[in-house]
């Protein structure tokens, strides 16, 4: 401990150092977490604003606010930015960075330099995105060939930006896997790990092993456009469906890259505010790994209408139903955790409960899409749009907001206004449902997605959805203002405002630069709430 002797008894919060260089050159996982948090939040707001423009266009059936091409560009940007720049790095990179070392009792991640390098690579990807905006692509975030190979918009730069981001994702995943294996504090056995760590681990494996495939796929698309390679071009003997196979081999697991960390967050919030041990720890932990594994096996369920054979459809539909099981197990266990608890409806807890509610809808509507006959009717309609947003916003983003409110005091050492936070939650929750619930009906009625203009029969539901988007935006605005003003003028946060047992709460807020003065000796799991005499039930 020789080199730590200076730090003894002198508490220096990690936020203390100021200046641009101290941020951009930092190797402190907590600061890198903030860098990601700020970046992804920015992209979330930008892509969200684009979504508002799109919804505004869709207020009326005609293409009157923007022309169809512009609309196509807007949904491409909305999708690409939300997916690749916000939600894939998302919780995993921001809260993952902040929490993993704290929760497992380490001073940092395994490779701190690689960690900041990943962030620089992320920045490089965003820089390329900015250039791509000069002649923005209109392919949709899925870049389906042959349209993406033939459109005269700039697909190459956008896909190259995404390709670069892939490396950031891979290196982050790699770092977290090694960290979880090698850096756990003494006594922090696998079955004592917080569930967020299990979730992050499963996510990291997906990031590591799925991302290279989309990397090469996008590279092939780039060579298709630049070198005249014809893997996806039927005129040259290629196969446009091959692109879909490759693309979804990544992009289906990517859905779980987005959602699993949020599931981890929920598993942390619920026990703390119920003051109960998490119900079915092992079931939740292993279901994360199970979901991660099965997610590699279901990709072609995005292709049921593309003319795949009955055999392939049968295999993939069956595997798709399998993935629903570990997901359902998690929902049941979270709900059961509440039983006989002492439930405090803190704003973070409200987001967690909102998550369960919305994610249940998202999950159940996924069953519709997994069932072959039903999928034929619903595929590529607004039903899919609604389902996806219930999972991605209702799931991931609610988890993200929950995490923001939950760990805010620890991360920044300040408190936000709890009442305002609850009001914001209300608008977000209501606005979200008003926006997306009507879209299920639109989809069942046959309204296809990615339509710049639409038949008049859909107008009333489309308009309702647009009004909902305003409520949602208003809620997010309140939340943003509340959280930012908390940073400026919030009260000082105590060490452990919720009496959590998790390691990250057993230190000053914000944590000191090196996290722990002494690496703790862990003797129990994180969820030892409640009175133990009723151990056997």
């Amino acid at each position: 401990m020789a080199n730590h002797s200076i730090a003894h008894n002198v508490y220096v919060p990690f936020l203390e150092k100021k200046g641009f260089l101290s941020w951009i050159l930092t190797t402190d996982h907590k600061r890198i977490g903030i860098l990601y948090l700020v970046s992804i939040s920015l992209f979330f707001l930008i892509a969200g604003f684009i979504a508002l423009l799109m919804r505004f266009e869709l207020l009326t059936p005609a293409s009157d606010f923007v022309d169809p091409h512009t609309y196509n560009v807007l949904f491409t940007l909305h999708g690409s930015i939300m997916v690749f720049f916000f939600i894939v790095p998302g919780l995993a990179a921001s809260f993952g960075n902040f929490l993993i070392p704290l929760m497992i009792g380490a001073r940092d991640v395994a490779f701190p330099k690689l960690n900041i390098a990943s962030y620089w690579i992320y920045l490089l990807g965003t820089a390329i995105l900015l250039f791509a905006l000069l002649k923005p692509a209109d392919t949709g975030w899925t870049f389906y060939t042959p349209y993406s190979a033939t459109t005269n918009t700039d697909v190459v730069l956008l896909t190259f930006g995404v390709f670069v981001l892939g490396f950031s994702s891979i290196l982050t995943g790699l770092n977290f896997i090694v960290t979880t294996h090698k850096m756990r504090a003494p006594g922090m056995t696998w079955h004592r790990l917080p569930l967020f760590i299990w979730a992050s681990y499963a996510t990291a494996v997906l990031q590591l092993l799925a991302t290279p495939v989309v990397g090469i796929t996008l590279l092939l698309l780039i060579t298709e456009r630049t070198l005249g390679v014809g893997f996806f071009d039927p005129a040259k003997g290629g196969d446009p469906i091959l692109f879909q196979n490759f693309f979804w081999f990544y992009s289906h697991p990517a859905v779980y890259i987005m959602i699993i960390p949020a599931m981890g967050v929920i598993s942390e919030i619920i026990p703390v505010f119920s003051r109960k041990p998490i119900f079915g720890y092992k079931a939740i932990a292993y279901s994360s790994l199970g979901i991660a594994f099965i997610s590699f096996l279901v990709w072609a369920h995005h292709m049921f209408t593309s003319g795949i054979s009955e055999t392939a459809a049968m295999i993939f539909s069956f595997l798709t139903f399998l993935v629903a099981i570990p997901t359902a197990i998690k929902v049941f266990n979270w709900t059961a955790t509440l039983y006989r608890g002492s439930i405090q409806l803190h704003s973070a807890m409200l987001y967690a409960l909102g998550f369960i509610f919305l994610f249940t809808i998202g999950g159940l509507t996924g069953v519709f899409l997994g069932a072959l006959a039903a999928d034929i009717h619903l595929h590529d309609t607004y039903f899919v749009v609604a389902h996806m947003h219930y999972v991605m916003i209702g799931g991931t983003v609610m988890g993200f907001f929950g995490a923001l409110h939950f760990w805010y005091p620890k991360w920044f050492g300040k408190m936000f206004n709890e009442t305002v936070a609850k009001i914001a939650w209300f608008f977000v929750f209501v606005g979200f449902n008003v926006t997306f619930f009507p879209q299920f009906f639109l989809g069942i009625q046959g309204m296809p997605r990615r339509y710049a203009s639409y038949p008049a029969e859909f107008e009333s539901l489309m308009a309702l959805s647009t009004y909902g988007s305003w409520i949602l935006a208003f809620g997010i605005l309140i939340m943003a203002v509340n959280l930012i003003s908390g940073l400026i003028s919030g009260e000082k946060a105590p060490e452990n405002p919720y009496n959590s047992l998790s390691l990250e709460w057993q230190m000053p807020s914000p944590p000191p630069h090196e996290n722990f003065e002494e690496i703790p000796q862990v003797t129990d799991w994180t969820y030892g709430y409640g009175k133990k005499k009723e151990l056997e039930v």
């Binding site: 756990r184 091959l242 196979n245 490759f246 096996l297 990709w299 003319g307 392939a312």
Partner: protein, 103 residues
């Protein structure tokens, strides 16, 4: 940390002799695969070539890359990507070649 601390003392250092043997095997296999490629076994051509290549790859991984002496986690992460690659190829194959061909 006790469970996975790594002690330098027990580390296996492969001798030059072992390396030379592995190298000789690799060279022999290379000669075989080139030689065999002039004979036509029909559909077996690919199978034979890939079989030989896989033996060579295994030799490189096990000895040159010391996989033989690594812990189970390394094995898992060395083999899992291969499983996924197998999955990608077979499932894409299933899709591509079971599609109904309409005249």
């Amino acid at each position: 940390m006790a469970s996975h601390s790594h002690s330098d003392k027990h580390e296996h250092i492969t001798t030059y002799k072992t390396y030379f043997i592995v190298w000789a095997v690799l060279m022999v296999l290379t000669v075989i695969t080139v030689y065999v490629s002039y004979v036509d076994f029909g559909a077996l051509n690919v199978v034979i070539a890939m079989g030989v290549a896989s033996i060579k790859a295994a030799a490189v991984a096990l000895f040159f890359m010391h996989l033989k002496f690594e812990d189970s986690i390394t094995w898992v992460f060395a083999l899992f990507p291969l499983g996924l690659l197998f999955l990608l190829i077979t499932m894409t194959f299933v899709d591509t070649f079971t599609r109904v061909v309409i005249p």
